[in-house]
Symmetry: C2
Subunit: 360 residues, 2 copies
């Protein structure tokens, strides 16, 4: 009897919550979209199993880099939310002083790539900016890479020659691009990696489940955090399927952040457009899996998500969030952690000759 | 009719080969042993799923290193036969000048770890030598690490404190070592990683299949190569389950190799035993998967396996192998590539606070 009463009370509470969820969900649906359960298509590309297999090999391939010791996976660690935990980027080890690594997870949903949007899409990011020398890229702030175009072309040529000397790769490129007579080509590297990267999506986060109608997927504090996230203005920039990644915004629009958050010598998007309005503008980063992608900001200035939320409130919205409000917003942000892709490590083909750079 | 005749001829050839295989196989079985199909047990350890899961996480964990950017997997790349392809070790990038990385694949079958055998087993290798600063280890030649013991102890302490500050690790250690009251402990890191590493075995190579009775698993040239490998004396040192890994031998016993193969300042096993007889002695490396583990020798002096075989013939056996003999021995060595373990990348828990080293 007593049990039945408790059950009825629970049912009442649940339905009460469900009713209260409806208007919030309606507002949220206007602003946000769940990550789809299957990877999106890249226009003009067919993601064959052979292309995806090659793309995964190349993503994990240290021999892709000029110095042969850095693969995409080193900075975009798929065990760590697609970032490097602040180890290589952001100047934390005293050797490199570039921008913080942006995650490769869900990057396919971003409108452009990099903090300054200088790459239009994933293949562009892979082919034109990174491959020749990822460490050089990490060292630079803003703008296209400061690599001499002649040297860049030579580095591309060396990469292609190296793969042509590895029988396992010659065969993998042939299978991936069977219609081409000379498939071991630089652009194909970018196409294959981009196709693999497009599979790195994180569906089924608690927030997405809630968005689709599961009232129980979020705790009350998380729902309150979502409400604050919308009402305080965070969602003005952080919206869409990636809850960010769709626009540029000046960092420090209301109040200039401290120099470790916004160093005066990194002009952001300005380096790409040369438009005064873009000075100190950066791509609004996706907040998907933000729990996993510390440290935060393009400088990696803090590992503390509460601090990051507080800084954003002050610098972008001109509001001083209370500790309770910050806690709730962070609780909501934690609900953006989706199902991380299950990645089986590829087996890379052995080289049968010295790498080109050593052959002399 | 004609088809039947061909079939009979083929059957005759095959059975002819099978007969010829018997004496060679009998000799081979006295010298070699196949890799078992299941990972061997580590004495005194129970490999629970929880311990293996923790061990895999830690193997891929860059935060394990003092500088937080090098995991075991960076040098022991499981996509590349468990080595780094010469990128970090061996002095190839001009910054590091240590010994070539030895593969972690089948390392459980070695009698000791490192080129000089200074670690008795895998847990010892992980805990006492590597974790505090793998790059420092790579920089040193021979002997125990030149790390101040006080600093080493402090580094161990920092590693433990860091994991204690990551809730996902606290829980993973508890599940792996449920009988302990304070499971986030340095020794447990070594135990868990060693258990995971013991699963990294490569059974089912063509040679092992042949050894078990499959005459078709080796080509004729490979069988001739095996015969040469035994008769020329290679198998005197390279034998057992790992076809090496079981003893030490002086490099240059007959003829001293060139200094890029045997630098005069690396005294090898001598640094561990201080016995004159051990000067320039090194652990005989396993030849399992040798096709995948270029560059070769403790110096990584060559990527060319034929060259490596020729150098060994001259320096260790005092024989000048003909090009045909070298080709056949290399054909045999290629048959030692086994089935590489299928590894699903672990998902590492996020840190919720700055790393200890940055917290100040």
């Amino acid at each position: 009897m007593r049990l039945k009463l408790i059950a009825s009370l629970v049912a009442l509470c649940v339905s009460g919550l469900a009713l209260a969820d409806v208007p919030l969900r309606d507002r949220a649906k206007e602003l946000f979209e769940p990550i789809p359960s299957a990877p999106p298509a890249i226009p003009g590309e067919t993601a064959t199993p052979q292309k995806l297999a090659l793309g995964k090999m190349l993503f994990f391939e240290p021999r892709l880099s000029e110095i042969r010791d850095v693969s995409c996976a080193d900075c975009h660690n798929l065990s760590m939310g697609g970032v490097d935990g602040g180890a290589l980027s952001g100047g934390h080890n005293g050797q490199l002083a570039g921008r913080e690594v942006l995650t490769v997870m869900n990057a396919i949903f971003n409108k452009s790539q990099y903090w300054d949007g200088r790459a239009a899409d994933l293949a562009d990011q892979v082919v034109n900016s990174v491959m020749a020398n990822p460490k050089a890229m990490l060292k630079t702030r803003g703008g296209p890479m400061p690599i001499n175009p002649t040297e860049h072309a030579a580095a591309k040529q060396r990469a292609v020659e190296q793969f042509k000397a590895i029988p396992g790769y010659v065969s993998a490129f042939k299978q991936a691009f069977p219609e081409q007579s000379d498939p071991v080509a630089y652009d194909n590297i970018g196409r294959a990696i981009a196709l693999f990267e497009a599979t790195l999506i994180t569906p089924d986060s608690p927030f997405d489940r809630w968005l689709k109608g599961d009232d129980q997927a979020l705790a009350d504090a998380q729902k309150e955090g979502l409400k604050l996230f919308i009402e305080k203005g965070c969602a003005t920039c952080h919206n869409g399927v990636n809850i960010g990644g769709a626009m540029y915004a000046r960092f420090g629009v209301v109040k200039q952040p401290a120099p470790d958050y916004l160093p005066p010598d990194d002009w952001g998007r300005y380096a790409v457009t040369k438009a005064i309005a873009d000075k100190y503008a950066f791509k609004v980063p996706s907040l998907r899996n933000v729990e996993l992608t510390a440290p935060y900001f393009h400088t990696g200035a803090t590992f503390d998500l509460k601090k990051a939320v507080a800084v954003m409130g002050e610098s972008q919205l001109g509001v001083a969030l209370s500790a309770d409000e910050t806690d709730k917003i962070v609780a909501f942000l934690d609900s953006l952690t989706g199902h991380q892709p299950e990645v089986v490590l590829p087996i890379l083909p052995p080289r049968t000759a010295p790498p080109i750079a050593q052959a002399q």
